[in-house]
Structure formats: C-alpha cells, structure tokens
Symmetry: C2
Subunit: 223 residues, 2 copies
Amino acid sequence: MKKHSVSEENYLKAVYHLEAAGERVLTNDLARTLSAKPASITDMVQKLTEKGLLDYQKYQGVQLTPEGRKQALSVIRKHRLWESFLVEKLGFNWDEVHEIAEELEHISSKKLVEKLDAFLNFPKLDPHGDPIPDKNGKIVYDQALVPLIELPANQPAIVMSVASQSADFLELLRFNNIVLGVKLEVKKRFDFDQSLQIKIPSRAAFTVSAQMAQSIKVKPVEI
Amino acid sequence: MKKHSVSEENYLKAVYHLEAAGERVLTNDLARTLSAKPASITDMVQKLTEKGLLDYQKYQGVQLTPEGRKQALSVIRKHRLWESFLVEKLGFNWDEVHEIAEELEHISSKKLVEKLDAFLNFPKLDPHGDPIPDKNGKIVYDQALVPLIELPANQPAIVMSVASQSADFLELLRFNNIVLGVKLEVKKRFDFDQSLQIKIPSRAAFTVSAQMAQSIKVKPVEI
DNA sequence: AAATTGATTTAGGTTTGTCTAAATAATTAT
DNA sequence: ATAATTATTTAGACAAACCTAAATCAATTT
C-alpha cells in the first residue's frame, strides 16, 4: 500500500462519487468534475489502470478496482473526519469546511487519522450528514433516507444529509435556515416546475426548487 | 500575497533556518538541507529571486527579502502550531510530530491557522520549546537560553528547548529521559572529548556528548 | 445506410521541479 | 603565484500533470 499523488487521489475520489450514480464512469464526466480537459483524463486513467487502481477500457469509461475503491474510501474518510474536526472543534460553519478539507484529506499519516478519529469520538456522520467510512473502508448508509423531492405531502421528516457541498447550494440552504436535524413537511407540489412548498414548525412556509429538493436527504418520521 | 508551491515554501523555510546561523546562505548548504542537487538549488533560487522573495547573487548565496521572510515565518508558524496540536490534543509524542507537521504546514487557509491558534489557547512555544511566531510574524526568543555545553558546572538549569528535530537526536533524548522542563546540573566536563556528566535530581548521573550538549538549550536558575 | 454530431483518444507541447554532466568561478594549498 | 580542490553555474534531459489541435470512434438523425 504505497502512497499516491494528490492528483491520483482526486481522480479516485471523483470516480468513486460518480460511480455511486450507477454504471461505468465516462471520460467527459470526470473532465467536468475534475475541471480538466478530456484528453488529460484519458492520460491519467491509463496511468491509474497500469497501477491497478482503475479498470479502463477505451471508449467505455472506467471502474474502480477493489484496491482503487479502498484508496478512494481512505481519502473520503479523511475528508469527512477533517470536516468534523473543523466544525466540532474549531467552530467553523458547515458551509466553509469543504475547501479546507480538500487539502487536509491528502495528509498521509495513518496514525494521525486514527488519533483524529479517537479525538472526535469516532463520529459516524460528517457535518453534512454523510457517513464516515471506518478504518477498513466500511461505510454504513442510512437506508431510510430519501431525497426531499420524493417525500409525500404532509409527511413529517427530518433533514439528515445534503448531497452537494457547492458554496451556492449551501448558501441557499442557509438563506432558508435549513440545517441538519430540522423537521419539515412538504405542503404542496407545483407540477409546472416540480418546486415544493415547505413548512418548518413555527416558521413561515417557503418554496424550494426541484433541484434543491433533489439534494436534500430526509428521513420520514412517524406522525 | 499570493500562494506558493510546497517546494517554494520549503526553500524559504530552509533559507530562514540557515540564515539564523549568520550571514548569506550558500547553494551547497541549501542543497544539503533540502536534499537536492546544487544545480537544482540554483534554478529555484533564481526563480524565487524573480518573485521578490529571495535576494540571490551569483556565487554569493542568498538572503531573504522582507516579503520572503514574512512567508517563511508564516510557514514556521503553521508548522509549530500543528506540532502543538498533535502533542496537546491528539496525544502524540514530541518526537513523532515533525514529519506530520511538514505536511500540515502547507495547508493554505489563513482562517484555519487563526482558529487553530485560538483552539490551542495561543501557545507561545511548540513542543520542542521553539517560539511560535504570531500572526504578524513577530517572534519572541528567550534571551536567557544557553546551549547546555556552555552551562557552568554545578549551575542548576531547566531544559527549555532543543535545536534539532532529527529522529536520532530525539531518540537519544528519550533514552536519557530528558524532557522539556526537567532540571539538571553539569557535574563534570571531560576535556578529552568535551563530553559532560549530567545530574538530574533523584536519578543516576549520566554522560552526554558535546554534540548532544550543543543542541540542548537550557535556562540557568537561581540556586 | 449515410451523414452529422458529440465523445474520446492520439500526438505533440508546456510548466514545474528535479536530475546529470560539463564548464567556470572561488578558495586553498603548495 | 600557480596549481589543485571545492563550490557553483550552465546546458540539456526527464517525469508528472496538465494543455490544444487533429484524428477517430460511437451514437443519432435523416
């Protein structure tokens, strides 16, 4: 288990996240998420395939090998632990930690990660509600989570997680005072643009776009 | 105030540490501390001179410019704050934090550094007894420190700082149970090899080499 | 089935930070 | 003062990770 460059780690992480959406990951998708040109992606995935971390086939995109997935999960583990540290211990807001964690996740010391984990009391979720893989890469998803867009009307639910870390998205969340743990209900859905009217107890109702509602994960609760 | 590459930061740091010893810093000295070939040093110091961080003159070595010194101190500040964090909060031993801090010192967020500083309660010294520059690069040296080798016999003193982070050096310190804050006296000096016999209260006396005694900084105390 | 469009790959180039080998300057010893 | 030694610089090369432009493959439309 040697160490990889920052770039290599970012490629593995990107493939991991894109794979979640389904089948093989295409060059162009990687180009978009990594902000690089498709030609550069081809170079790099070939290199990572030679190292046994990806399985690449011309024109057919890539897949993580078991070893590649293990590496990706290790980076994601570090990212989420550092985010937890920044919020829990240093008092950052949850919408300003992603960029910093993008740097911290590449610090290599294994011992550091384990000590950090212990210092944080072995958290299961990061500040955005995403699960933190354990040291063996095991990751526990909450099966009960659904995107807000799929929540039936008048079914109370708790906001558990958000599926994007983009600054624009988090800004809008904050504008609407949506934080993890808040309880809400869908009051109305507008077929025209799929937008939803949302009610949070003791606040005025407001609407969110379909795009927003897609990225907010909630857990329905008993009535 | 733009950001610099990891390599550039390491060059500035190396020049800063070597400058402490006296006048201009020579290519070969940098080659040694940075583990690079002299030819590579020449290239890089030329580049840093063009950026206004170093003042380089052919065959005459380099000096930090005010801007270069400011950058170097910023990196050193981060290094020492992270070392403090690793020891104080994560429970590392002082002899295992240097390598990790070499990576952490290059994390760029200014806000992170200030929050970390506050979290640690604005420490003045790092775990090795070295002063931590403040956010303006101001650094307070304890004028009363002398190398153990210069301590007169039978003059009690407190170990305040060590002038090397090498693993071999720290291992030997540990072997002799020398930690920061410990009180000791020189009992005898052997002219043959300049080695010293040291006594620490309630422990058997032991000897240290001149090389060791050079790197241990102590503060004499009243009798 | 041919043509157009879009995705992907290839070929060749750039920058950063390193290297080796050869040339030159500075220093030290004779 | 000259020779030998050591330090430094120059020149040319290389790997990593990116780029642009051109070529090729795949998918879709007509």
